[in-house]
Amino acid sequence: MMLMMFLTGSWALAQDTIKIGVVGPRTGPAAATGKAFEEGIAIALDHINAKGGVLGKKVEVVFEDTGGVPEKAAAAFEKLATRDKVPIVVGESHSSSALAQIEVANRYKVPFIICEAWHDDITKKNYRWVFRAGPVNSGVVDFYIAPFVKENGFKKVAIVRENSDWGVGIADRTETNMKNMGIPFVTLKVEREGKDFYTELTKLKAENPDIILAYIYGTGLHFFVSQANEVGLSPKALILDGAGPPSLWDTFWKNVGKAGELELFMSSMHEKVHLTPTSRKFWEDYKKKFGKDPTDYKTRSIYNVVLVAADAISRAKSTNNEAIVDALEKTNLEVTTGIVKFGLKQGTYEYHQWMPPMLVVQWQDQQQIVVYPKEAATGALKKGK
């Protein structure tokens, strides 16, 4: 009897809040993403709980660190599924980690919304439990990077990619696009946590490219940008950071100095581009809470998926996994980057996928100038000499 009371008591206690699981790197080379996630989660929770939470309960987050390592990432997901028994998991920003986690999600049948792991296979595997409200390699290349290269008349492209799932995937897609458009290119493979790129850059210099598509994540990108300038490769050849956030970290300018001028990067956020009222609200809430403007767009990406998760639970009217997936498939929710609606056609990466519009931004006098797509541009692309 005592045991029964104890069990029901703790059960009742556990049900006082709704827990959303989050996975992402809080340590390792991209620990800065973990920090961006924490900020986004804090604002999202304020927003949701101020409206009374979900199903009449307060929403909480359990954030497990992945360290950016696939094995650790899978274990983190498993912990959330078995120990914390969360009804849904969101987050992730490394493709290698996400590819390991979707297998766990599939095994435990836990709905999982990814925000910033771009590899096509994540949704291409067509797992019923896996969703992505964020960029996908093919989308980023086909709709933004490749047309940007073509429309600005670049003549020789250098693709530099790290040996990670994201790097390999996005470089392959870029190669296919360049071949189709008939633009000559050269690909250079580099190590994921490389520091010294002098040799690589000297090799590239001999190829005389006018744009370098740098698929390198983390501090490595800072090394790459500053060293490209030292060996005299940039700004004659412009560098486009194919991921984005490292070019926006607080330390970017300190680390690269003048070499950052005219550098380009992908982004889904800009101070002057607000696609929805939620975007403005996010910006104001962030400033109020942290006393500065948001920089890393991944803060906003995680904010979006937490909102999507809360919305799905509340429409499902339960924390049952099947009900949540059904609700997710019917999602029609305004977030900061548009209205989320997941693709339902099976067989491609577009299944359970929604991609926000992206921007190509250039640093000009340390100001962010949107240079592509044209309809969102706040200035013209400057080429180096």
């Binding site: 809080r26 340590t27 390792g28 080379p29 620990a31 800065a32 973990g34 920090k35 040996n163 250079l188 493979k189 580099v190 190590e191 946590e193 490389g194 520091k195 010294d196 002098y198 040799t199 690589e200 000297t202 090799k203 001999a206 501090t219 800072h222 090394f223 060293q227 300038n229 030292e230 060996v231 005299g232 970290w249 607080d250 330390t251 300190k254 680390n255 100095g257 003048k258």
Partner: protein, 286 residues
């Protein structure tokens, strides 16, 4: 041709940087038979100290650099007195202690300094055109020059001074050295401090080129151990040669074989050395 010279120059510069990162490990192994796994963390802390002293407190980088090294020296002395001294004679014990310390310090760095990479201000910016052949970063050239000066001073200190003679005496025969009046506890303490300070020196010299991150310490320790094993445990000359071999090999391998496997070339040589000359290129055969 100019490209080949660029690869070679970069190999030599990276080689000297490898040597300066590793020489502290070599010194401590040679004298005290202690493998300091927390070496990389001391390097990282020095980089962050140098950054905060010059950027956050506004000191001149020329003052911030020696000051940071001094702090790391004190930290080294503190480590020796509290954690390392009880382990003398038990290599496994000291191995575990420094390994645990490295994890603690790494997480402390993450907590104190945050996850972002940081770099102290450059003393020089821009690049120099070397003989009209290629451009090379000025800060790299400066760090290269300073590293050579420091390596030479260490050689002088160990080979020519009374302190150096005592250190070598202890490393050869601790008991005998004590009998003739060398205070081995004091020498150990100062040597450990010196080894730590050398990790710190590497940190402040290299951080303006490669910004420090809390989690970057493992890679620094690993490279240092590879260099030390390559050159021969405890041999200072071996440390310099080991560093150069690694630097040149990695750059040539990346240039002419594959950029993706840059670090594998170093490990291949390491395996070959361990198979055919396990005591290292310049180590003492046991």
């Amino acid at each position: 041709m100019s490209e080949f010279l660029m690869y070679l120059t970069n190999g030599v510069v990276m080689g000297v940087i490898n040597a300066i990162s590793a020489i502290g490990v070599s010194l401590i192994v040679g004298i005290m038979k202690v493998v300091n796994f927390a070496h990389g963390e001391l390097y990282i802390f020095a980089g962050y100290f140098s950054y905060h002293l010059s950027v956050s407190l506004g000191l001149s980088p020329l003052l911030a650099m020696p000051l940071s090294v001094f702090f790391i020296f004190l930290l080294g002395i503190l480590m020796e007195r509290t954690l390392i001294r009880p382990t003398y004679g038990d290599e496994m014990y000291s191995l575990i202690i420094t390994f645990v310390l490295s994890i603690v310090l790494q997480n402390a760095a993450l907590l104190i300094f945050g996850p972002y990479p940081n770099k102290p201000p450059n003393l020089l910016s821009g690049a120099t055109n070397i003989f009209g052949l290629f451009h090379y970063g000025n800060q790299r050239l400066l760090s290269f020059g300073l590293s050579i000066c420091i390596l030479l001073s260490i050689f002088y200190l160990i080979k020519k001074t009374w302190f150096g003679k005592s250190v070598r005496a202890i490393s050869q025969d601790r008991g005998m050295a004590s009998l003739v009046g060398v205070n081995h506890l004091k020498i150990n303490m100062v040597s450990f401090g010196l080894g730590a300070a050398l990790a710190g020196t590497a940190g402040v010299l290299i951080a303006p080129i490669f910004p420090v991150t809390p989690t970057g310490s493992s890679a620094i320790s690993l490279t240092a151990f590879v260099v030390v094993v390559l050159g021969g445990m405890g041999s200072l000359k071996g440390c310099v040669i080991g560093g150069l071999v690694l630097g040149i090999l990695e750059n040539m391998g990346a240039a002419y074989i594959s950029t993706m496997y840059r670090h594998i070339f170093g490990f291949i040589i390491l395996i070959l050395v361990l198979v055919f000359r396990p005591w290292g290129l310049f180590g003492q055969k046991a």
